[in-house]
Assembly symmetry: none
Homo-oligomer: 294 residues x 2
DNA sequence: ACCAAAATGGAATGAATTTTCCAGAATTGC
DNA sequence: GCAATTCTGGAAAATTCATTCCATTTTGGT
């Protein structure tokens, strides 16, 4: 067996993921020099500390000289310490709730926006929507979902508000709730009568409002009316700083994924689905517990 | 009560944890200037993206000047942006381990219908939508996309038809097309006047019809009228055997993903986005080729 | 113990990044 | 509607940082 291949100094290509690197380190640990072993141990044992921090700080913590870190990175095929460091950062990002960073990276690797074929465009939207969906889960705490479903389950009817872009998920909510035989009223502002429509909100209703930047005054007004009447309010919006958030009983803040200037409604609709079906199950369960096993 | 204390400029001491900072931001949000609010929103809504990246990059993503970030940090008592940034890093380090675990658990329990928590349900829908999106790309040939965009680009106005479930993507189309300054009419059947609405379809319009099983007669009728008048028709449906398919100039057939009896609209909306933005680019290109470089 | 080769840490260089400063723009108060 | 104040963004300055280079030390072999 030819052992020369294993000598890898600068020639071989560097590991591209953190786990690859960790494997490589473990494998080559014995052939490293004293100081490099020290670095190796530190990298393996404290991966979290590598992501941030400067060479100087990390070197101090690891008890070595900064240049040793650079040499270590070189020994594993990287152009410098910084290049190796990105692996640790990416790893942290992958585990973290953040995803716009990944979109940014993906966008960079996808080349210039603008003169693209519709086909590529479709691919980009699919990609962006997928990422947005993935991050959705981490943005929606289970308790909030449960509270929202509680409110909907206890309400006699649900009044749904959403205009312009948010009209789309609002319409979906109305469709879905009616589908599972819940009373749902869509405040659709037909005939510019949203105030009149909002006027019909009653004590034992629930209000479901959807509003994203730029926040529409129509939605705001309707929610305000509901708030005055002490009606429980579920808000789906994009930020805790949204004007609706402070009036709400329950707030969902959704990450907005923007590609080519168009924000995706996919997370909102997915949430809408989940709320509706979750409600359906809840209502079903309540019914059977009420002594009606059908 | 002495309110002076609240004026805090440089004098007060800066929040030492991320949640403290977030609270402080929420509290003082209203008294911030326009740009600082922009920063505030970005910090609240994208905490994960602050941790890495340089001021320059973050400033770009937030749409502000780098110095604004520094000013913001100063306004909250930090010596500079970097000092504030460390809060976000610490937070990321603390949060990271749970996330992948959650997804794994959610995925494992997938397929166990019935008594599920809404949280698990959400995970299922996310998963289903993701799969549906993935398969979308292979179901949409590039030529069909191009033809559809051709039709939309040449049309004077677009008439959009979709009822019930399909009303949701139809409404989205109407919104998106108007957003890119195309004339779009949504045949929404208000006042049960879909026939009258369809009657306004003209020779150089285009028709965009969305219909899934069970196919709605309203959509069918409208498309039939359009077909008689020789108007180009784009159809989004679930099968090439759909009654609309044979009248269409271009047909998109979408795979339907069904979870808990609810079909997902996500692929339809993703397609809608792609068509709209693809159209926007096409129109832009045509305009500049017509000698109007703006 | 001596020589050659490798390894190490200090200092310097050069690049990148954060911060400060300032002039013009926008906003507010009168 | 004007003046004063605040806000903004460009550019330069200052700082920090990663990397390279080199002299010194250490290691391993004879």
């Amino acid at each position: 067996m030819e052992r020369d291949e294993n000598q890898m100094t600068e020639s071989m290509q560097a590991p591209q993921t953190l786990s690859d690197l960790q494997n490589a380190i473990t494998e080559r640990y014995s052939e490293l020099s004293k100081r490099l072993r020290q670095v190796a141990r530190y990298l393996i044992d404290h991966p979290g500390d590598i992501a941030f921090g400067t060479v100087t700080v990390i070197a101090q913590d690891a008890g070595v000289h900064p240049s040793t870190l650079v040499r270590f990175a070189n020994a594993f095929g990287y152009s410098g310490f910084s290049e190796m460091q990105t692996l640790f950062q990416q790893n942290l990002l992958r585990e973290s709730p953040s995803y716009t960073e990944r979109i940014r990276i993906a966008r960079e690797t996808l080349g210039d926006p603008g003169s693209q074929s519709p086909d590529q465009l479709l691919g980009e939207f699919i990609h962006a929507d997928t990422l947005a969906l993935q991050s959705l889960q981490s943005h929606i705490p289970a308790e909030v979902l449960n509270e929202a479903i509680d409110i909907l389950a206890n309400a006699e009817a649900t009044q749904i508000i959403g205009v312009r872009r948010s009209f789309v998920p609002a319409a979906y909510f109305a469709y879905a709730l009616r589908h599972i035989e819940r009373r749902a009223y869509l405040i659709d502002n037909v005939g510019a009568m949203h105030k009149e429509q909002a006027g019909t909100i009653q004590k034992n209703d629930a209000v479901l409002a959807i509003s994203f930047r730029p926040y529409a005054s129509e939605t705001d007004e309707a929610v305000r009316i509901a708030h005055e009447r002490g009606v429980p309010i579920i808000v789906i919006t994009d930020s805790r700083l949204s004007p609706l958030a402070k009036l709400a009983s329950v707030v969902f803040t959704l990450p907005d994924s923007e590609v080519h200037g168009f924000r995706s409604l996919t997370p909102t609709l997915c949430l809408a689905q989940s709320l509706s079906i979750g409600l359906a199950y809840r209502v079903d369960k309540n019914r059977s517990m009420d002594g009606n096993p059908a």
